[in-house]
C-alpha cells in the first residue's frame, strides 16, 4: 500500500545565537513568515499549527503557548504545543496523513538567554529528579556514557587517544561546516588542539567545545498533504518516514548505557515506513548535543558498526573532504554545523535540522550544497532527542 506522504513545501528560520533585543514573538514571527513566504501560502490557508518549545513557561512566563501563537497569527485554528520540533512535525504528519488537515504550520522557538543565570538548572528538567538530587548536571550523563562506552569496548592507551581526537574532530568539522551557514551561531573555525585544551582545562573527557551552546532562535516549516503540495511546488520534499521511541528518563536504570535504544528503534521503524535501507541515506542531521552524541548516533542509526563509529570518524577526518566515509559510502553529516556550531535553541533545533536537509535535497543550500554524483542528495534523515535519549525522533525526507 502506498502511504500518503506529507510534503514540506516551505521552510524558514532565524539566526541562532543570542537575540538580546527580540522576544519570542519576534523570533517566531520571523521564522514563520519566512516559511510561509518560501511556500507561497498565507496564514489564512493554515488548517492547524503544531508548535514546540521546552522552556517558554519558565523563561518567558508563557504558559499556554497556543494562545500566544493564536494572537500572533490572528488565527483560531486547532493548535497544539509539543516540546521538540520533531515531535511537532511527527504529530502534524499524523494530522495530514489522517486527511484531517491540508496545510499545517510547524514551528518552534526557544529563548534560553532570557534566563542566562539559571538555564543550567532549568536544563535539568530534561533529566530525572533523582539524578538531579544526586548532583547531575546537563553535561554529566554525556561523560558517564563516554566512560561506559570506553570501558565496554576496552578502548585504552593509543586507541583512547585516537578516540579523543575523533570526538574533537567532530567539533572541528561542525564548526567548519557552519562557516557557510549564515544562520549559524558560530561561523568560525576551531582546531583539534583547542578542543583538547578545553578538556584538559576542565580535567574531563569532554570540554567546552564538545557541547552545544545555549541559544535563542526559531524555526518553522509548512507541511501539506500530497495533493495540495503538488499545486504549490514541483519538487516537494516528502516526509517518507517519521517515527519516535521512548526510553526510561532515569539514565542509570536503563539497560544499555553505552547507546540509545530509543534512537535505534525509531530509526528502524522510520526506515521501514520509508521503505528504504540505511545505506540509501546520503545526508544526515544528527543530534550532536555533545560530540559524543554525534558519534553514538552513527552507531544507533546503523551507519557505523557498534564500537566502531569513532574509527570511521577518525579515518574520515584525517583529510576531511566534507563527508564521513563509512564502508566505502559517503555520508554527509551536520552540514549546517550541527547543534555545536549552528546552535541549540531546544524547541527550534529540530526545525533547523529539517531546514538543512530540505534545502540540501532541493539543491538550494548555496555554498554548502552537497552533491552525490553531480546531483543533490535524494534521501536524508534527521535525528532529534528530547532529554538524554529519553525520546528519540527520526524523520526521513526524500524527493522524487
Amino acid at each position: 500500500m502506498k502511504r500518503r506522504r506529507p510534503a514540506i513545501i516551505g521552510v524558514g528560520r532565524t539566526k541562532f545565537g543570542e537575540h538580546y533585543e527580540s522576544g519570542p514573538e519576534k523570533l517566531v514571527e520571523e521564522a514563520g513568515l519566512r516559511a510561509l513566504d518560501s511556500a507561497g501560502v498565507g496564514r489564512k490557508d493554515l488548517d492547524a499549527c503544531y508548535f514546540s518549545d521546552y522552556f517558554l513557561q519558565i523563561t518567558n512566563k508563557i504558559g499556554i503557548e497556543e494562545g500566544f501563537l493564536s494572537e500572533l497569527l490572528e488565527l483560531h485554528v486547532p493548535m497544539e504545543k509539543m516540546r521538540s520540533l520533531s515531535s511537532a512535525l511527527l504529530n502534524a504528519c499524523h494530522g495530514v496523513q489522517s486527511g484531517k488537515y491540508g496545510i499545517v504550520l510547524v514551528g518552534g522557538v526557544e529563548k534560553m538567554t532570557d534566563r542566562w543565570d539559571k538555564i543550567r538548572d532549568d536544563l535539568m528538567l530534561l533529566e530525572d529528579p533523582w539524578s538531579y538530587y544526586a548532583g547531575c548536571t546537563p553535561e554529566a550523563n554525556h561523560e558517564l556514557l563516554l566512560r561506559g562506552y570506553v570501558k565496554k569496548y576496552g578502548i585504552s592507551g593509543e586507541q583512547l587517544e585516537k578516540f579523543n581526537v575523533a570526538l574533537a574532530q567532530i567539533s572541528v568539522k561542525n564548526h567548519h561546516h557552519a562557516i557557510e551557514n549564515e544562520y549559524a551561531q558560530y561561523q568560525r573555525d576551531i582546531s583539534v588542539d583547542k578542543v583538547l585544551k578545553e578538556r584538559s582545562k576542565a580535567c574531563k573527557s569532554l570540554g567546552l567545545y564538545d557541547f552545544a551552546p545555549i541559544s535563542d532562535g526559531a524555526s518553522a516549516l509548512i507541511l501539506a498533504s500530497p495533493e495540495i503540495a503538488k499545486s504549490y511546488s514541483d519538487t516537494p520534499i516528502q516526509v517518507l518516514g517519521s517515527s519516535s521511541a521512548t526510553d526510561y528518563v532515569t539514565f542509570p536504570s536503563r539497560e544499555d548505557r553505552t547507546g540509545f535504544v530509543a534512537s535505534a528503534m525509531a530509526m528502524r521503524s522510520a526506515l521501514k515506513m520509508a521503505d528504504i535501507e540505511v545505506g540509501d541515506i546520503q545526508i544526515a542531521e544528527l543530534y550532536d548535543q555533545s560530540t559524543l552524541l554525534e558519534m553514538i548516533s552513527l552507531e544507533d542509526l546503523g551507519f557505523s558498526k557498534r564500537g566502531k563509529a569513532w574509527l570511521d570518524i577518525y579515518n574520515s577526518c584525517k583529510e576531511y573532504q566534507g563527508f564521513y566515509e563509512i564502508d566505502g559510502k559517503k555520508l554527509f553529516v551536520n552540514r549546517n554545523g550541527g547543534l555545536k556550531a549552528d546552535g541549540n535553541p531546544l524547541g527550534a533545533t529540530g526545525g533547523a535540522q529539517i531546514f538543512e536537509v530540505a534545502k540540501q535535497l532541493k539543491g538550494e543550500a548555496g555554498n554548502r550544497q552537497v552533491e552525490v554524483n553531480g546531483d543533490p542528495p535524494r534521501f536524508g534523515c534527521v535525528s532529534e532527542f528530547e532529554g538524554f535519549g529519553t525520546k528519540a525522533y527520526i524523520h526521513i525526507l526524500g524527493r522524487d
Binding site: D117, K118, R120, D121, L123, M124, P129, W130, S131, Y132, Y133, A134, G135, C136, T137, P138, E139, A140, E143, L144, R147, G148, K151, A202, C203, K204, S205, T250, F251, P252, S253, R257
Partner: protein
C-alpha cells in the same frame, strides 16, 4: 522554594534509598513499586520492601562535576556517577561526598569499580527559610574513612534486672582542623546536626544488633538544629525506621522528641530512656538517645569568637534496654540552677558566654556537686571507680575537675577526647563515654558527668557487663578508628569556616 509534599516524599524514599523486589523473579527497583514489570499482574502483592541504606554499592562509571548547577555551586567540585547495588540489579545516580577537590590534580576515574557506601547528607543549598533537603544518594568510598558495616539484627540472649546501655555509636566527620596540639572535627559542607544524629543512630543500631522496629522512643539533644521549630528526632525516626512502620501511611510507631539544655540535652535523657524500658506497661523494649551538634561559634574576630578555638562536630547515640546490656545503669544524680553562663538568643546565629564566670560558678560547681552526690548516694569511693568522664569544653576544665574530685590520670584520661574532636556540645561527654566503652573490661565502673550551660549536670554510674566484649566486634567505627585514621583530612581556617557554615 521547595514544596513540602515533594520534600516529604523525596526524603521518605531517598533518605533511606528505599526500593522493592519482586519475590517471583527477583527483579529489583529503586523506589517502591506495587508490581513487577517483568511478571506483570501476578506480582501484585508479591513485592517486598528493600532498601540500600546499609548496603555496599559499586561506583561503575563517574565523572568530575566542576561546574555544578545552581543549587550545588556551594558544594564545590565533586565526583558524580552511577552506583550499582546487588551486582547491577539496581543502579542509582550518586554523588561522592567528603572530598575537597579544589586545586587538586585528581584521577577521578580511579574511583571507578570501587565499593561505595551511602551516607546521609544534605542534598543541596536552599534559602534559609526553606525546608532542609536531605538524601542518601551521597556516597563515600568503602575503603576510606568510613568502613562499610553490615547491620545484623540478632536475637537477644540475656535479660538483665537493671536497664542499661545495649549499644552505642559515635559519628565524627573525616575532616579536622589542627591548631597547635588541638585537633577538632569539622563537618563536610553537606553535614549538619541532623545528618550527624542519623549517622550516629545508624552506628548504634549496627553495634547493638537491636531490631530497629523495637525502639519505642528516640530522644535527640542538640543546640544546633538547623530549624528553630521542627524536630531532628522525627528525621532520625523515619530514616532509621524506628518503631514499627505503618507503610501505607508512611508513619513510624515511635515517640520522637528533641531536647535542649545546652551540652547536656542528650545525657539528661539517659535516665528517662532507661526508666522507660524498665516500666513494663510502656511496652518499650528499647530507647535511643542521640546527642549531636555542629557546635556553633562566631568567627574569631567577632563577639563570642573565643569559642571558635574549641568547637567540634559530631554525634553519639546510645540504645538503652533490658536485654544484652553492656553497661548497667547503677544510679544517677542531677542538679540545676539558673546560671546564664552561655546562651544564644532566638534568631542569633552564634552563642555568647559569660567569660570567666563560665568556669567557677557554672561548670565546676555543677559537675563537682553532681559527681559527689552520686558517689555519696551509691556509697562509692574514688577507688571503686575505674573510669571518670566529664563534659569537655576544653582540656583544662575536665582535667581540673577530675583532679579536684581525686581521680587519677588512668581514670580520667581514657575519656578525655576533646583534644581530638573539640567540644562537640551535646555529643561531648557521651563521646568520652563511648571511648571508655570501646576499651572497658567487664565489671568495670564508669562515672560520667555532663554539664549543660544554663546550668546543670547529670551524673551517672555505669557498671559494664560480660557482654561488652562480645559486642565489640560488631563496631568497626570506634573512637580510635576515628582518631587514628590515615584518611583524615586537615583543613585550614578559611576552609573550616566555609565547611562549618555549610550549604
Amino acid at each position: 522554594m521547595s514544596s513540602e509534599p515533594i520534600e516529604r516524599r523525596v526524603s521518605y524514599i531517598g533518605d533511606r534509598l528505599r526500593g522493592s523486589q519482586c519475590t517471583l523473579c527477583g527483579k529489583e527497583y529503586f523506589r517502591g513499586k506495587d508490581y513487577c514489570g517483568k511478571c506483570g499482574r501476578k506480582s501484585f502483592g508479591k513485592m517486598k520492601d528493600i532498601d540500600f541504606f546499609y548496603e555496599k554499592g559499586k561506583l561503575e562509571v563517574c565523572t568530575l562535576i566542576s561546574e555544578p548547577t545552581n543549587k550545588f555551586v556551594k558544594m564545590g567540585p565533586y565526583v558524580y556517577g552511577i552506583v550499582s547495588f546487588h551486582n547491577g540489579k539496581v543502579r542509582v545516580p550518586g554523588r561522592l561526598t567528603d572530598f575537597i577537590l579544589e586545586d587538586k590534580e585528581l584521577d577521578f576515574h580511579s574511583f571507578e569499580d570501587r565499593e561505595v557506601v551511602p551516607r546521609f547528607r544534605r542534598r543541596y543549598a536552599v534559602t534559609r527559610s526553606d525546608i532542609v533537603p536531605t538524601i542518601s544518594l551521597a556516597f563515600t568510598v568503602a575503603d576510606d574513612y568510613y568502613p562499610h558495616q553490615e547491620y545484623e539484627i540478632s536475637k537477644p540472649k540475656k535479660e538483665y534486672e537493671t536497664p542499661g546501655i545495649v549499644g552505642y555509636g559515635v559519628y565524627v566527620s573525616k575532616f579536622r582542623i589542627k591548631e597547635g596540639m588541638r585537633e577538632r572535627s569539622v563537618p563536610f559542607i553537606d553535614e549538619d546536626a541532623v545528618t550527624a544524629a542519623v549517622e550516629a543512630g545508624k552506628m548504634a543500631l549496627i553495634h547493638s544488633g537491636v531490631d530497629h522496629s523495637l525502639i519505642g522512643k528516640v530522644y535527640v539533644g542538640s543546640e544546633s538544629n538547623p530549624y528553630a521549630v521542627k524536630p531532628i528526632a522525627s528525621k532520625v525516626a523515619q530514616v532509621l525506621k524506628l518503631g514499627g512502620e505503618e507503610k501505607t501511611d508512611g508513619v513510624q510507631s515511635v515517640d520522637a522528641i528533641d531536647t535542649e539544655f545546652a551540652c547536656k540535652a542528650a545525657t539528661s535523657m539517659f535516665k528517662d530512656a532507661a526508666s522507660l524500658v524498665y516500666y513494663p506497661r510502656a511496652h518499650t523494649p528499647y530507647t535511643m538517645t542521640v546527642g549531636a551538634d555542629n557546635s556553633q561559634a562566631a568567627p574569631r574576630d567577632e563577639l563570642g569568637g573565643e569559642l571558635d578555638l574549641f568547637v567540634g562536630y559530631g554525634g553519639s547515640a546510645f540504645i538503652f534496654g533490658m536485654h544484652d546490656v553492656i553497661a548497667e545503669l547503677e544510679g544517677w544524680y542531677s542538679c540545676t540552677s539558673d546560671t546564664p553562663d552561655f546562651w544564644r538568643r532566638d534568631r542569633e546565629p552564634y552563642p555568647r558566654h559569660g567569660g570567666r564566670f563560665t568556669g567557677e560558678p557554672a561548670y565546676f560547681k555543677h559537675v563537682l556537686m553532681a559527681c559527689r552526690k552520686l558517689m555519696e548516694q551509691l556509697n562509692l569511693q574514688i577507688s571503686d571507680v575505674d573510669y571518670f568522664v566529664s563534659h569537655q569544653p576544653n582540656i583544662g576544665f575536665p582535667v581540673r575537675v577530675a583532679q579536684e574530685l581525686g581521680f587519677k590520670e588512668d581514670q580520667y584520661m581514657p575519656g578525655l577526647q576533646v583534644a581530638k574532636f573539640g567540644n562537640t556540645y551535646s555529643g561531648s561527654s557521651p563521646i568520652g563515654l563511648a571511648a571508655i566503652l570501646d576499651r572497658a573490661k567487664p565489671n568495670e565502673r564508669i562515672i560520667i558527668v555532663s554539664y549543660g550551660s544554663g546550668a546543670g549536670s547529670d551524673a551517672y554510674s555505669l557498671l559494664t557487663t560480660s557482654q561488652i566484649k562480645e559486642k565489640r566486634r560488631r563496631q568497626k567505627f570506634t573512637i580510635r578508628h576515628q582518631i587514628e585514621n590515615k584518611h583524615l583530612e586537615y583543613v585550614d581556617y578559611p576552609t573550616y569556616r566555609r565547611l562549618k557554615h555549610g550549604l
